[in-house]
């Protein structure tokens, strides 16, 4: 244990310069959270379209790309404002460095957003034929190519996998932060996408069939359960390096991050699990919506803690 090491060495810093505090803060948390929603709704829409008839989810074809489009733009906007030189973001496209997962992720996310935009145009044009007036060429073009929607969908689902998991690779490349080096991060990103995607679709599923909503409740319940189990495993098991152990002490030892972490766990994982479970049995849309909102709030809080605590540790 770290404490024992310090105790044994009896060494204490008596003169030093200030070291960096939190570099990637809540802006990056919003970035990850919004990306989970943007990719999650794609996964869930594909699952629901496979399992149910389109008629049982009348607005899914246009609402899914609308949610994904908004969430992905929030994700990209928060990526941009976190840069200290935002106008130079163009360098990622003009001077790409392909060993960097930031570069690869930015390119994949841009392509993903492009495809989502196409689905958005087709989905909205089909659902609202009068939108933009009778002479709107874009609406007409979108309606004319309506079949493209179903052709793009499989590629979009496939692309959503690296788009949602590349942040875990950025974390893996952030080799100074031991807590993020766990292979479990990739699975955490996927569970977060299932959680956020099902929660976002639950909020717009008022007119859907009971069976479709039951499926959403099932995915939400499973996602919060496994995500919770993985967090707890990382939290309690001592397979980690001394640096990761020292990082988790910021939660173990009490204080602000302890409160934020357990609030997030309770709101976002424990309560939605039971609410989701009850909604699988009885179709209570109000409780299910509450579970969805709590899951989104809790996910944000937990991701925020997991992002910040490794940055509190002195590196040198």
């Amino acid at each position: 244990m770290v404490e024992n090491t310090i105790h044994a060495t009896q060494a204490i810093v008596t003169l030093d310069v200030p070291i960096q505090g939190i570099v990637w803060g809540s802006i990056i948390t919003v970035n990850m959270w919004a990306k989970s929603i943007g990719t999650g709704v794609v996964f869930l829409a594909a699952y629901l379209l496979y399992r149910h008839k389109k008629e049982s989810m009348p607005n899914l074809r246009w609402i899914m790309p609308v949610i994904a489009f908004i969430a992905l733009n929030v994700f990209l906007f928060f990526t941009l404002i976190d840069l200290h030189q935002p106008y130079r973001m163009i360098h990622i496209y003009t001077h790409p460095h392909w060993t960097s997962s930031i570069t690869v992720g930015a390119w994949l996310a841009s392509l993903f957003l492009g495809l989502v935009t196409v689905l958005l145009l087709i989905g909205v044009a089909d659902a609202f034929p009068t939108l933009g007036g009778k002479n709107c060429k874009m609406s007409a073009l979108a309606r004319k190519n309506s079949a493209v929607y179903e052709k793009i969908m499989p590629f979009l689902v496939f692309l959503a996998i690296p788009v949602t998991t590349y942040t875990a690779i950025i974390m893996a490349q952030s080799s100074a932060r031991e807590l993020w080096q766990a292979p479990a991060e990739v699975m955490q990103m996927l569970w977060a996408a299932f959680m956020a995607g099902s929660a976002a679709l639950i909020l717009v599923s008022g007119s859907w069939s009971k069976e479709a909503r039951k499926d959403l409740a099932f995915v939400l319940t499973i996602a919060v359960f496994f995500s919770f189990a993985m967090y707890m495993s990382e939290y309690f098991f001592s397979f980690k390096s001394s640096e990761a152990e020292a990082t988790l002490a910021f939660v173990h030892a009490g204080g602000a991050y302890n409160v934020e972490f357990w609030t997030g766990m309770t709101l976002g994982f424990i309560i939605p699990f039971f609410l989701g479970l009850s909604s699988i049995k009885s179709d209570n849309i109000t409780l299910l919506r509450l579970a969805a909102i709590l899951a989104l709030v809790g996910l944000f809080l937990v991701k925020d803690v997991w992002l910040k605590i490794p940055q509190m540790l002195p590196l040198s």
């Binding site: 060495t9 009896q10 204490i12 310069v17 040198s316």
Partner: protein, 251 residues
């Protein structure tokens, strides 16, 4: 040619001459350091000793900062130096997340990442890094580690078994070596860094990244409107909350 650095900690007397020389040579802004000397007190009174550890970029052969940089602002020079092109840097701070040694900072004047370059501009002119020149006890040894006859290579050979690098478990292959150091001095988890007033100064951490007056809006407006020039007041006005870390459950 592969340039490397070696610090003999048994010679270092903590004068901080190297720290100052680096600041002056590279015009490193206030609140930022490319090279710093850390004092660590070891033992229990009366059996105590004080160690001095100069800390700078390790110019790793497998540099995580170079790998994660999305625009190749961090890049290798032919002599092994990990250099940085601040005109290309987008300020994403990925390198700050990747560097296991905390050697990279966000320059508060340019709002781009920066770090020790082994004084690449001086090397190009055939000069030694400023910190090497100024060291009164020649604790800083610099040279070509691929040349068996260079001072640094001979020093490494003479001290075989006692030469260390920081965090070898990270597999970054640093070209920066230490002689005469121990776990207490080179491992940041093996000594306590208590925030607050210590023997010499108020040990704290920065509450801002880059320019503290460079808000999100300023980041977009600064290229057109410019932003306030930094002066000493910007930094002396900083109020460190020494209790912050303990409130947050820190060590």
């Amino acid at each position: 040619m592969k340039l490397g650095f070696l610090v003999d900690l048994s010679l270092c007397m903590g004068c901080k001459g190297c720290e100052i020389a680096c600041k002056v040579e590279n015009e490193v802004p206030l609140s930022s350091w490319r090279l710093r000397v850390k004092y660590i007190d070891i033992g229990v009174f009366p059996e105590t000793k004080r160690s001095f550890t100069p800390l700078r970029c390790n110019h790793c052969e497998s540099a995580p900062c170079e790998r994660i940089c999305p625009v190749s602002a961090l890049h290798y020079l032919e002599n092994g130096i990990v250099n940085i092109d601040s005109s290309r840097c987008i300020g994403c701070a990925g390198c700050m997340m990747a560097c296991p040694y905390g050697a990279i900072y966000m320059d508060p004047e340019t709002n781009t990442a920066d770090k020790c370059t082994y004084c690449a501009h001086r090397i190009e002119s055939g000069m030694m890094p400023a910190c090497v020149v100024v060291c009164p006890v020649e604790a800083n040894i610099f040279g070509d580690i691929e040349d068996d006859n260079s001072h640094i290579s001979r020093y490494i050979m003479e001290h075989k078994g006692a030469v260390q690098v920081r965090k070898p478990e990270k597999h970054t292959s640093p070209t920066h070596f230490y002689v005469g150091g121990g776990n207490q001095t080179l491992n940041p988890l093996a000594h306590q860094r208590l925030e607050g007033f210590s023997l010499f100064n108020n040990i704290t951490h920065l509450e801002h990244v880059g320019d503290q007056h460079h808000s999100i809006l300023d980041r977009f407006l600064a290229p057109f409107a410019g932003h306030a020039k930094l002066n000493n007041d910007n930094f002396t006005a900083m109020q460190e909350n020494v209790e912050t870390h303990s409130k947050e459950g820190g060590h």
